[in-house]
Amino acid sequence: MFLLRRLGWMLITLWVVYTISFALMRAVPGGPFSREKQIPEAIRRNIEARYKLDRPLVVQYFDQLRPLVTGRWENGRLKAWPDFGASFRLEDYTVNEVIAQGFPVSATLAIFALVFALMLGLSAGVVSAVQRHSPLDVSFMAAATLGIAVPNFVLASLAIVLFVFVLGWFPAAGWGTLKQIALPAICLGAPIAAYIARLTRTGMLEVLNRDYIRTAYAKGLHERRVIIHHALRGAILPVVSYLGPAAAGVLTGSIVLEQIFSLPGMGNHFIEAANQRDYTLAMGMILVYTFLLYVMNALVDISYAMIDPRIKLQ
């Protein structure tokens, strides 16, 4: 029931996003076929006819919406669902193909970044909380605040000079090998790690003074066991609820990093699509991102209920 209702709201969300984006895209001047070298009127008309841009906007609205709902059928067999149509600017591809190629890149980047952020952030937060006011704590927290305060494009540029050219650990940019993923993933994960570290530290400090922790210690449990099994479980809630916004942050961040590191991911495709007025591709990107964000938020809610028995899904 919970899942069904969520699904219903997701469809509504997607529809709202589709409508807003459609309106905005068509309202922005410049079409997908504007060029520096002007093309003769007759040719322009041919092009518009080919892409059905000469139809009334309402018709275009439904023309684009229909295959999203029904998918693309060939000879009675479903070929693609949802069908985003052909890309206007990357002519040799359909939007589905662009997403199929771009999504793994962005997803890989996001997974590495999030895993890195969680590992670093949680451990730094726990260490800070346990050794409160030690030099380690102070330096961790200073680094964490710095991580939040420096724009990630500055961070990435400095990281390139340091890790690529001074230390020579990684290649400069591009996609294909693990080494190439590492640096952008670290840059992307750094601000999130910083935030998680602060949340964990705050949560831990609050929990460590609770009676049940004292009881656990009194029972003679090992400190590590107390911290990981008892304290962390109580302190992790704010971190989990931050994962929703973190996913959104990964989104924005990956746009910047995909540009700086020249990665063929979805953020890169979207910025280009918006600049080039590639209506179908931009729409595809937005809808996929909306879907991901929604799923992420739903997952966060579920995890919440899993971790904290007091919370019920509704």
Binding site: V16, T145, P151, F153, S157, F165, L293, N297
Partner: protein, 431 residues
Amino acid sequence: MPASPKSEPRPNPDALDDKSPSATDDARRDRYEQLLAEAQAIKGVSLWKDAWRRLRQNWAAMGSLGVLITVSLLAFFTPLLPLQSPIDQDLENRLLLPPDSTVVYLGQREALRFEANSLKAQLARYDQRLDQLQQERAQAATAEEFAAVDEEIQQIRESENPLLQLWHRPGPLSQAMIRIRLAIFGDWSLPSWAGTDALGRDLLARLFWGARVSLIVGVVATFVSLVIGVTYGAVAGYAGGAVDAIMMRIVDVLYSVPFIFVVIFLITFLTEESIKKTYLEPFGINQIMIFYVVIGAIYWLTMSRVVRGQIISLKNEQFVEAARTIGASRARIIFRHLVPNVMGIVIVYLTLTIPAVMLFEAFLSFLGMGVQPPDVSWGLLANEGIKVITPIRIYWWVVLFPSTALALTLFALNFLGDGLRDALDPRMRTR
């Protein structure tokens, strides 16, 4: 989350019992309201005082507050400071100079063709000419003559004012401040302690003028989000029931909208020439205001959720009941009685939103959608900075100073936000 008892100021319950409320008796009601207001005022002060006392003990937060106040003051009084021109390029001699300590005089660049290569002298000549014309205008015999001289004055103001050569469209207040500065320091200005950029402009001056834009964007956009978020959250929370459910569902839906994409569309759409001419300029809306509104419009979501939660926990408290009993309107209850009580958490949230907004501005600058030159912002400067970090050569000053300024401000805002949360929410005092 139940709010702590301390943060809920209540009117004196005794006062309520003594007098039976009567909607018809205006005089009594007025007095009653006055009493109520007084009671609230007293309690309110003590709450803030309490928080202030706690905040003062937090040296990190106090230091941050000091930094922020200094930065804001410096930004506001930038025209008064003996800085070089933020827009005057010296292509021949000053491209990408590292920080140095050679004093620079305003107007010394030959190509400006200023009298005696001095801004002060040129300004004096301009003022003199204007005076002369104004006298002529005063002595004008006929209406046509008056109009002709008047027009000339207008044109000279527009085209010959030397201040316009060195600053980008300074407003009247800025012009006045620049004149005061000229009176105090003359043409002398600070050396390029922060170096110069790729077009030979002084980075120190650009940093200060950029601070004005960055801070204003941060504050105004946050204020917009505050107004929308608080109103929306308070209305939803107070109304409850179906209205609340619908309003919060809308927020949920919006939460899943990838706003960065919508913003990119919105900015391209709203900054487009024809749209601006038709819809925005008649109302005096310019690029930077669009910016405020667009950014503000994104950040209200969390604010509204937080406020709603607080309002729900407050709305059944006695002081609200009391206000309702004396017939206060809904709007009045929400905005006069409830909203002031959630201000604590709102302020905490504000100090955390401002840095987010400033970072977002930097992000938009990275994509080339930030403020338009020759206006500068820290985001724009940082973005110019990363263009010159290459392994061939690093012009470190171009990236270091703007990034440091930005980071320092965001640092301070974060610390202040933490401090305020601790101060306003005693439950967290264990930290």
